[in-house]
Symmetry: D3
Subunit: 271 residues, 6 copies
């Protein structure tokens, strides 16, 4: 069950409106690695944890915080949109700033949301649940989380570089710091699980059932052998259970496939 | 530039047709973490590498191999679909096996693809590029790759548990082994970059510009303090640059937001 | 800012597992009018309210409750999935119950989410933000809300009719009651705004700027005149500002359009 | 069965081309609440009506008219696109008007549709059927229709405010008037059904089967009690069957959920 | 402008309900090559024709007919759904026919549409406008149309093979015949345009501006030379302007790409 | 199985960066008829061919070449993005070129991909598998291929007209030439299959089972009889098996549909 407090987790006030930047900021609200994605990802992972331990609590703590970040960004975007002009080519031709705004803003911010934030990314793509992962295997999922926080912090940093507005920069510096924490925390949780289970997910599948002769082999499918010089091409494997090998000329083990004809009632091309 | 050889990388022949399993197998061909996703993810990452070093080669080696895995799965699915029956309720009522097939199979395998594989997942969702990540920051992207290989191997293992067909199990044991390698290789590459750059992505953003007072803080937003017992709540942070803290009762730093009214021409509700 | 409590708003425990019903129940979790939709719709409307009055509080109260409903449904679905069998055609052929389950369940509940709930509908479509509305005009948006609660309650009632599980029915009776309240509350809010603004959205657009001669006309575009007998075809209009008229044979006022040829550099078919 | 007449329902001719406005106008053609949405929504509702009465006729009358509105907008957009320039940065740098157009227009209007309208919204999102509702329950569906006409008229009004082109404004004033009628007609139909069935959808579900103790309760899940002052928090409920109550501190009735471990073959994290 | 007549273009009445087949039939209503796709494709092509000649009339004639086909299929599906049972695992376990129905039907036909047709395909994917083409170049578009009618007729034929219901088969035999006509008509229109413009689209691009040395070359990128035996590998090209050639070992003309480093503010991995 | 060579098939180097054009060029990389579409379409068609003849080889030859075209475009886009500026309204106001870039570019090229190409179209829509066709019937599929190459070449030509950059134009002239070949080759393959099977797909469905009285009839559903003057309205049909007829006033053969009421448990509006 959730409770809401009207106060924001952190300040979210720009120095001045900027509808062009409002559209860019949508990326970290409603984009693939935006706050909606991490909120939904952590909450679904948390709800699906079987057992009530510290991982569930950590997921719910963090997922609930991400809801606060959606709220901060929604507020910031609404403020950046204040007084956004409307207009057509005539106005754009007269005033280059209006022209730049009409081109650079998300026009749905005027037509559809009435100067409010939307659950979309910076190109106007609607948020969809194909962005998130919750598999029931926590080592897999914490890697999804670490990835999301890495991509997300990278995007916030790029946005920080794109604006001179001190209010916006102040809020972004908060989000960047929280992503620092979240990367740190998922790394800590990953290390703990890796120490317990070894590094390959899922750790519960019997080694002897996989085709072990290719479990530690790098196949050179792209001409050039620079990849042979990496740590992944020789020495003990990262899971400590094998030895990396490099195969310069990969062979085909599967033969040429020859499919049987389809039954007549399918009306495929006859052979 | 690419070249194709008709031979498959590995055997892809089931003992007998099984349209119900064919539909399930689509998950690892055209699902969120299926072979199309990793192929496209590695190739786009590879094409976007700025510099021609070992990472680019590794990405192109692996992305090109994933194309071979798409091909193996497409072939296996086409064979599992051989002789798939068609029919309506009348047939289903007479023969429970036909009933089970009509329910359990992807009916587009008959109506649309003519007993061929499709770029869709096990529920028939079309593959879409919102599944993949290629950011230009390799540490972020290798984490995306490790996640994809973890989720992917987990799914293949679950499919392995779901069938008794020895031919299918043989092919899956190959894919499981390759995912073992791919998890190992991305871990190796990640460790190398982390050693060079430290663990927080992006490493190039100046520490002093983030709100450092919350960079290592776990906020307890979900009642219950089990998460306070984890490694992420105390001790030196994983990046070695701070100390984890636990805040039992998180405060609001942002005040209540109060948005200005919209201009009249927006026709929002008047305040 | 949000806080989470581990306790559920209401009981969410089935008498026994039922993966087929779990898939059906996804509709009201992650479907077009499911709990994710209303949560996101109310929260975005709330965040975008310009002014901090009772409507904003009502939206935040209700949006926050919907998060608890997502949680109840996610928990129920996870429990309905307990012990879901895996299997292929061979098993389905031997045991009609397994056949029915493999056909009737969402197979991603096994392969992808590991027996957890997903942000998808009953056919496996990913939730997407194209389902929600938040326009900044509260009368418009409360109508969206009333529609969502009407469609949603209808779906929950249909699910109630589809199961004999007393635990499931008990939880659904809670959700049905809450939807009764939510329909009532949005009707109350709508009536208040309609009394203040009149019924046509947006009320702020000057009457004389619309083509008033067709503002209260029903055009008979589908042969047959049964619709002429309705309240909408004669008498004073619902906004009290006009008189309904019925036009039996609608005319064309716009002439035949004749588009100019495209410039050569577009390479369209030459006229 | 349908018949088409080449004449447009109303004039659709701009004073001059304006590719920037053409892109904005796409919102009400192919957006969430555009003409394609209402046409498809009314027609599917009409086809699914069981009984051939006045509601079916009304739905088919109106759905068929909406096809004419798609046509008017498609024609207007094609005319606004006439002579749209093509170009790259070099041209944009030389001529700010070309820069504004390249930014503000939908570039697919040149590259893909050859200066023709497209079934997309103002941000280029493809129209999809997740926008529409047709449930078989007409009170629910007429609320969907009233919402669609409210959101739609609001958007057309905002577009009217955004242009100075008299030809465009003339056509928009027609569409605004028709939306006035459509809001009026759905209100009339809703009132009739509400009078017959009471206001809660579906009216056929037995009252005693819902958890009646929470059927008229407003839970204060967002701190602050402004919502307690509304009509929805006290007095007789809108359906006349209960009394609104306000609960200042909502309790959790559901206990902490504790999910059983997954079977081994799922390979989730072991508890 | 459009007019609707309540009569169907052709009979649409099954011998008996069959919710499993109803779901399959959705493919040709709301799938990639279903009736919604062809209706929208022809109408948008028609509206975008610049010039009012016979092609525009043909497109509007045919697009308008396709609306009637949507209606026939919607009616058939509603009838096939009559009396569709609802139920959970308990019922499915008791009665294999109910089990088959629950697996084989689209459960949204019960929960969402109330036994009505939906704008979705046989796997429940929502129809979207990414399925259609309207480019302004009629030779290109008529090829899209011929493809759509070919894929569509193939699917209807496969559905015809899947049922024993004489009412359904009767209606499908109508649709198959109409697709025979539509394939014939687009072939006739294509031949006319090809005779006028030659066969390569667009015909208006100056030959000397393309890299003519590879305009008629088949590159052997897939090992094995069976494709060298086809008409496309030798002899005069189909446009009569060149000679087909076969290149057994394709060369790379483009060198190894070497991308410059990104600016620092992008925070990519440093080279 | 596939192999990759670092060299590009053809040069892919612009004279200078141009982020606005980079966004436009995405259309033919990741749009509906871009290189990803044709690569995936040909490869899936090839993998699903039942029989190992020349058509399979041709599909695999061409599908593999299309992978090289994706690579060329990805490289070109990455180069066009070099040095793309970031910025907000303040910068846009100061410098019209920056304003034009911020409006005209895909802002995800900065925020998300770090100056790399993406699998999206020119409006930022993610590539999805709903764009492609692979039916198992090669005549149908080769028509899909001819359409894709026609729409694709048209789009590349329009892009060629939109830029003055000689490096870009040089690469586009390569792609245009290859599309010339691909249109020619699919025409050759189509003619061969048509000669063998006749022109209507599928050719294997018995003529007497379709409703032959309407197999060659053009119904005049759109007022005006210009379409009656075309080749498709009189004379021998293109398949040589019938005679085209024109019906000036199409009749309705299906009567008015009258659907039975839904069962009570569906809770539709009662009749
Ligand atoms: Ca290599
Ligand atoms: Ca906690
Ligand atoms: Ca009528
Ligand atoms: Ca409150
Ligand atoms: Ca070959
Ligand atoms: Ca006509």
């Amino acid at each position: 069950m959730f409770f809401h407090k009207k106060e924001l987790q952190y300040l979210s006030k720009p120095d001045r409106p900027d509808p062009v930047f409002a559209r860019q900021l949508q990326e970290v609200l409603g984009g693939q690695f935006g706050e909606i994605s991490v909120a939904m990802q952590y909450l679904f992972q948390g709800w699906n944890v079987r057992g009530n331990g510290k991982y569930k609590d950590l997921l719910m703590d963090t997922g609930t915080e991400e809801l606060a970040h959606i709220e901060m960004l929604a507020t910031m975007i609404a403020r950046l949109l204040e007084g956004a002009p409307v207009g057509d080519l005539e106005k754009a031709a007269q005033d280059p700033v209006i022209g730049a705004i009409l081109g650079g803003m998300n026009v749905q911010h005027t037509i559809v949301s009435g100067l409010g934030a939307m659950p979309v990314d910076s190109m106007g793509n609607k948020w969809n649940a194909g962005y998130i992962a919750a598999s029931g295997n926590l080592l897999a999922d914490f890697r999804a989380n670490l990835n999301a926080e890495s991509q997300g912090r990278l995007q916030v940093v790029r946005l920080y570089e794109s604006t001179n507005d001190r209010g916006v920069k102040d809020m972004l510096s908060w989000l960047i710091a929280r992503d620092t924490m979240h990367q740190n925390q998922w790394i800590a949780a990953i290390k703990e699980l890796e120490a317990k289970e070894n590094v390959v997910v899922p750790s519960t599948f019997p080694k002897e059932l996989e085709k072990q002769e290719v479990s530690y082999v790098l196949f050179n499918f792209s001409e050039g052998e620079k990849s042979a010089t990496g740590r992944w091409a020789s020495g003990t494997s990262m899971d400590g259970l094998g030895t990396f090998q490099y195969v310069q000329q990969p062979e085909a083990y599967g033969g040429k496939p020859n499919l049987n004809p389809a039954p007549f009632y399918i009306h495929n091309t006859l052979p």
